[in-house]
Every structure is written in C-alpha cells, then in structure tokens.
C-alpha cells in the first residue's frame, strides 16, 4: 500500500515537472523574435519579399484595441 502511494507521488511529481518545463518552453518561443527570416531559398524570392514587405496597402490598419 505504502509502495503504491510512493509510486503515485513520484509519477505526480514527474508530471508536474514536465508541465513546468513545457510552460517555460512556450514562453521562450513567444519571446524569441528573429531579426530576419532565414527561409529565403533564392535571390528572386528575397527580392519579392523585400518589395512586398515595403509596400503598404490602403487596407492596412493600426490596432488600438476595441471599445465594444
């Protein structure tokens, strides 16, 4: 009986430890902001990306939240 309780407590501890680590991992991912996109595979794609990123569409808006 005591051994069973010990095993349950051990498993619970390990699960808690796992949760904490997962949470830390998530936070790290959220805060990491790469300065450049390194997935560019060719010069043409890069030039395309440069032109597209710099162009501002009329429909683009600034988010100042919602009042309703």
């Amino acid at each position: 009986m005591k051994t069973q309780i010990l095993v349950i407590l051990l498993i619970a501890s390990m699960m808690l430890l796992g949760c904490t680590q997962t949470s830390d991992q998530t936070n790290t991912n959220v805060n990491t902001q790469p300065i450049t996109d390194t997935n560019v595979t060719s010069e043409t794609q890069l030039v395309d990306q440069e032109i597209t990123n710099e162009w501002i569409n009329e429909s683009e808006t600034i988010d100042t939240g919602s009042v309703i």
Partner: protein, 319 residues
C-alpha cells in the same frame, strides 16, 4: 521509515508547487496593478520602422488617427445607446475614459511628422499604447452593462462608419500612401539598378497597382545574370538589416522609460480633463451644438463631484 519517506515526498511536492503558486500570484498582481500596455510587439516594430522612411511618419500618424477616431465614434455610440437603454447605469468612468481617448486623438492630430526620428517613433508608440489602454479600459467599464440587444443596436448604427465618418481620413491616407509607396519603390528600383522615372510617376499618381509593379520588378530582376542577382539580393538584405538594427536601437531606448512616461501622461490627462471638457463645451456652444454642450457640462459636473469625493476621502488634501 515509510512514513518519513511519504512526508519527505509531500514536502518536495509542496516545494515544487510553491514557485507555480508564486508565479500565479505575480500574474494576478500584474493583471490588476499594471494599467498600461508597455510591450513592444513585432507589429509595433514594423510600424516604427516605416517611420524612418520619407512620408512614413505621416502614414503611421494618419493610420493611428483613423483607428482612434473609429474608437471614439463607436465609444460615443455605445454611451448614447447605454444611457438610453439603461437610465440607472453609472457611466461616469466610461465617459471620462472616452474623453481621455478624445484628448489622445487631439494629440495625434497635432503630433509632428518631421524632425528627429527618435522623437517621432517615441511619440507614435506612446500615443498608440495610450489609445489602446484607454480603449480597453472603456470596454471593461461598459461590459457589465451592455447586453446583446444594445450590441445589435450599436452595430446597426455604426455599420456605415467607414463610408461616412471616416471618408476624409481614408482619402488622406490614400494620397499619402501613393507618395510613400512611390518613394519606397524608387529606393528598391535603385538598389536593383532599374531606372524608370515614368513608372515611379505612375505609382505616385495611383495609376499602377501593386501586382503590376511587383511583376515588372521581378521580370527585370530575372533578366539579370546570377552574379548581379546575388549582389543585389545581398545589398537589399543588408539595407533591411541595417534599418531593423536602427529601429531596434530606437525602441530599446524608448522601452526603458515607456512605462513611466505613459503613467505621467495619463495622470496629466486626468488632471486636465475638467478644463478640457469646459473648453469642449464652450466650442460646442459656439457651434450651436447644444446637446453636446449639455452632455459635456453634465459629465464635467459628475467629474468634479467625483474629484470632491476623493478629496474628502483624503482629508481635504488634493493628492
């Protein structure tokens, strides 16, 4: 022996749970005590980066003006519907918040768009964050009063907002964007070795859409040899990284004092609210807008009563 092991395990578990409990407390605390949004997101950074380019500050300030104008107009509609449908509801806080948001809007309209880029970016970020904080405050202050029927009524009343009330600002944005995009494409064309003033002129006049420009630029690029392509791509990438670094340095400087600056600003705004409302009421009166005059006078009276109550609670001393 077994009892000791169990006690040790329970102790260990409690030790493990303690940091989680403390972390939860911190979050709760920040949720109530932190009243301003002082985070700089990748979107904020992208918006700030635009301000480093010619016409960029004008574009961003006009976009911000549009967004805040929209919230002020909707906020006014919310207050009108709620004061009609819920005559007993206390809307004083929401009214004060909306007036503060209108003060922010006036600051946005008066904000500089030329001069020191550091100042331009700082002004933009602070005004944006303040507007966002106040919009969110207003939402929180009305959420327990507003019901589905009110919401439906408000939505019906604001459905033509973009077509009517925001038409002028939309036109201004459209015009300034033509200049901004023309300058940007000129810069990119120069980096690519393309000389086509006629096309830049057509972008400036709004005679070309983005797809046409992009197709033209990429076709020109494809005609180059591999060495030229590599060289141009490297130049473009280096320039972009340089701009990003410059903008990051700016935002890092701003973020240091952002929280304190915003708290000071919001406190000043609260202190000046009564004078601002008096001035608005006089303006509305001069225009013959007596409904607005009456509404502002009533709000000002409630605000002064609230200030008086706070002073009484503080033993007659103004804090």
């Amino acid at each position: 022996m077994a009892n000791k092991i169990i006690a040790t395990m329970i102790g260990l578990m409690m030790l493990m749970l303690l940091p989680m409990a403390l972390a939860q407390d911190t979050n709760t605390d920040s949720g109530t005590s932190v009243i301003v949004d002082t985070t700089i997101t990748p979107i904020d950074e992208k918006e700030a980066r635009t301000m480093l380019s010619p016409f960029g500050a004008e574009v961003r300030m006009l976009q911000l003006e549009k967004s805040v104008t929209r919230n002020v107009l909707i906020g006014n509609e919310v207050l009108q519907v709620l004061s009609k449908n819920h005559t007993d509801a206390n809307l004083t806080d929401a009214e004060n918040t909306l007036n503060s948001l209108e003060m922010v809007l006036e600051d946005i309209k008066a904000a500089p768009t030329e001069g020191d880029k550091n100042v331009l970016v700082q002004t933009f970020i602070e005004l944006k964050k303040e507007a966002k904080t106040l919009s969110n405050d207003f939402k929180q202050e009305t959420k327990n009063i507003i019901n589905a029927q009110d919401r439906q009524e408000i939505m019906t009343n604001i459905k033509d907002l973009d077509k009517n009330d925001l038409m002028d600002i939309n036109n201004k944005i459209r015009e300034i964007l033509k200049n901004f995009n023309a300058e940007k494409m000129k810069e990119k064309f120069n980096q690519m070795g393309i000389k086509n003033e006629d096309m830049i002129g057509r972008i400036r006049n709004g005679d070309m859409n983005f797809k046409e420009i992009r197709d033209y630029a990429l076709n020109q690029f494809r005609d180059l040899n591999e060495t030229e392509k590599k060289q141009i791509a490297a130049t473009m990438r280096n320039n972009t990284i340089k701009n990003m670094v410059q903008q990051r340095e700016m935002t890092q400087k701003i973020i240091k004092d952002l929280r304190q600056n915003m708290l000071d600003k919001m406190q000043n705004r609260a202190e000046n609210l009564s004078n601002w409302m008096e001035r608005k009421a006089l303006d509305a009166n001069a225009r013959g807008d007596f409904n607005i005059t009456q509404r502002l006078e009533n709000q000002n009276e409630r605000l002064n009563q609230m200030i008086q109550r706070m002073e009484d609670r503080n033993g007659g001393r103004r804090q």
